[in-house]
Amino acid sequence: MIEVENLSKRYGKVKVIYDLSFKIEKGEVVVLLGPNGAGKSTLLKCILGLVRYNGKILVNGLDVKKKSREIRRKITYIPQQFILYPNLTVEDNLKFYAEIRGIAHNTVNQIIEKSKLGHFADKRANELSEGLRQRLMLAIVGLTDTPILLFDEPTSNLDFKSVLEFKEMIKEESKNGKTILLSTHLLSDINDISEKVIVINNGKLVFKGNSKDLLKKTNVKTDITLTIHEELNSETKAKIKDLLHKAGVENVSIKNEFLTISTETSRMISVLKATEEAGLKIKDFVISEPSLEKAVLRITNESDEK
């Protein structure tokens, strides 16, 4: 449904996307990950035909360079910033975007009711509270019924309630068979949404696949942080480190009364047994599962080093 082939983009002398290629199938929900400035927004703008680029992008088999207007009719794009006209009323904001898309006015009324904005229909957007503005923004997004949705950092301006509503909306749209590309640097956004990820860094594709494969590829371990009763002397520290290494632990760090161990999830029990054998009096412990944040950080750091 979205095919990107050898995409390159530069702003003046600065190259922001390098030879990017990937394919998103119909009905897939893909999360586009990467740090700020990685080229995520530019990539979305290329798909929409809003900026010039080298390479080829096909949406539903149509070339973006030749049929960008037709393609934009099939895409709903949500930029990072607010999309509201501050002087227009809630109803006029919705009507304006509806008219551009050729959406009937009764759909606007339905959306107003569904979004519980009925009491505020005559209020200007700049008179609304932050929460209501967010609700209006989601209502504008909900106006269109396109097969493809592109989101550019959608939750950066949303409060926690709107984030939950947004996630529900994504799930619903996904169930309806929509193709969704969601760009974000907030990894909490993608929980429960999709396992398919594309990671880009400095305009280069560094990973495409399943988030579990990304964890495997980056070899991110489980972190166990133990709080012990007393500070250890250097002799005991060396003894403990030795025992833990024998139990298969790669990294051990001991600072004051905190002992942090990085290990494979499967070795967690044997590591805990080893700490017991070492005679450590444990006050508390925290287990941090391998996180996507760490995996993305590691893979982007690795690509920086290259």
């Binding site: 702003y11 703008k45 929409l48 809003l50 900026v51 010039r52 207007r69 037709e70 934009r72 009719r73 895409i75 794009y77 949500i78 930029p79 990072q80 910033q81 607010f82 999309i83 509201l84 006209y85 501050p86 002087n87 227009l88 009323t89 006029d92 304006f96 975007y97 008219e99 551009i100 898309r101 050729g102 959406i103 009937a104 006015h105 200007r124």
Partner: protein
């Protein structure tokens, strides 16, 4: 109401949608309303109002001053137009609505023409009402014929022309500006240039090139505000006024013959900045 869509050709409906939005946006914009209020207070000229209230200047004399009021209206209307027009694209860029608007199935040319049409209507309406209200005190005190409704209509036509020109220029400023501050600064300079700096240059040239009529010709046609004012004076009362440009036009083209070059010049001044705006808007990435 479902709008008919076609991939070929420009969609009048898209232009109308943008224009309608611009009119609504302008009418609800507090700055626009404040500027409109200032506009009609200033064209009436506060000294005249004070004189009238003191009984030192008769209401009946207002119609005779229509030309002066209109000349002020064109200059001050230009100030409102450059401010509103120069912010039209750049403020959408800064508030983030432009990216979303461009992601819709709409062409950039439709956005420019829609904005131009909507703002032209909104500003012209505001100026016509403002000018009409400013002239209200004369009604009832003077004979209706001497108020000169046709003069009012001529004035409105001339204001409409000058608004279109200034709006075209200010849209171009808005497209090329990177920020609202830059847009406003450029716009104010352009307005100051055409209304004040240019006149000084005109006077200077007049002194240096005493009989070089061609120089006057360029000076009139290179300043859209000057063209509008000349056109307005000629529509009102071409024979009895001391405006140098009007006298020059009458000598050069005659009374009847002046309207065509002046109107054509206005048209060129509208089209050229608009075409420039469209080309620049297409060449820029948002």
């Amino acid at each position: 109401m479902r709008v008919m869509k076609s991939d070929n050709g420009m969609l009048i409906s898209s232009i109308l949608i943008i224009a309608k939005k611009e009119i609504k946006d302008s009418i609800r914009n507090r700055w626009f309303l404040v500027l409109s209020g200032i506009f009609f207070m200033l064209i009436l000229q506060i000294p005249y109002m004070v004189l009238m209230l003191l009984g030192l200047f008769s209401y009946e004399n207002i119609p005779g001053k229509t030309g002066i009021f209109l000349a002020y209206a064109i200059s001050l209307g230009g100030l409102i137009t450059v401010i509103v027009g120069s912010l039209s694209i750049v403020s959408e860029k800064e508030q983030g609505t432009l990216s979303y608007l461009l992601s819709q199935p709409i062409r950039k040319i439709e956005i420019i023409i829609g904005k131009f049409a909507g703002l032209l209507l909104a500003i012209s309406l505001m100026m016509s009402i403002g000018f009409g209200i400013a002239m209200l005190p004369s009604i009832g005190e003077a004979e209706i014929n001497s108020i000169g409704l046709e003069n009012f209509a001529y004035g409105v036509i001339a204001m409409f022309g000058s608004t279109a020109v200034i709006l075209g220029i200010s849209l171009a400023i808005s497209v090329v500006s990177g920020s609202k501050t830059m847009a406003i600064s450029l716009a104010l300079f352009i307005w100051l240039f055409f209304t004040t700096i240019y006149d000084s240059g005109f006077l200077g040239t007049m002194l240096i090139a005493a009989d070089e009529t061609q120089a006057y010709f360029y000076f009139i046609f290179l300043n859209p505000i000057e063209i509008s004012e000349v056109l307005m004076y000629m529509l009102l009362n071409p024979l009895f006024n001391s405006n140098l440009s009007v006298n020059f036009m009458i000598n050069f083209f005659g009374i009847g013959g002046s309207f065509v070059p002046l109107s054509l010049a206005i048209l060129v001044w509208v089209i050229v900045p608009l075409v420039f705006s469209v080309i620049e808007f297409y060449s820029r990435e948002y």
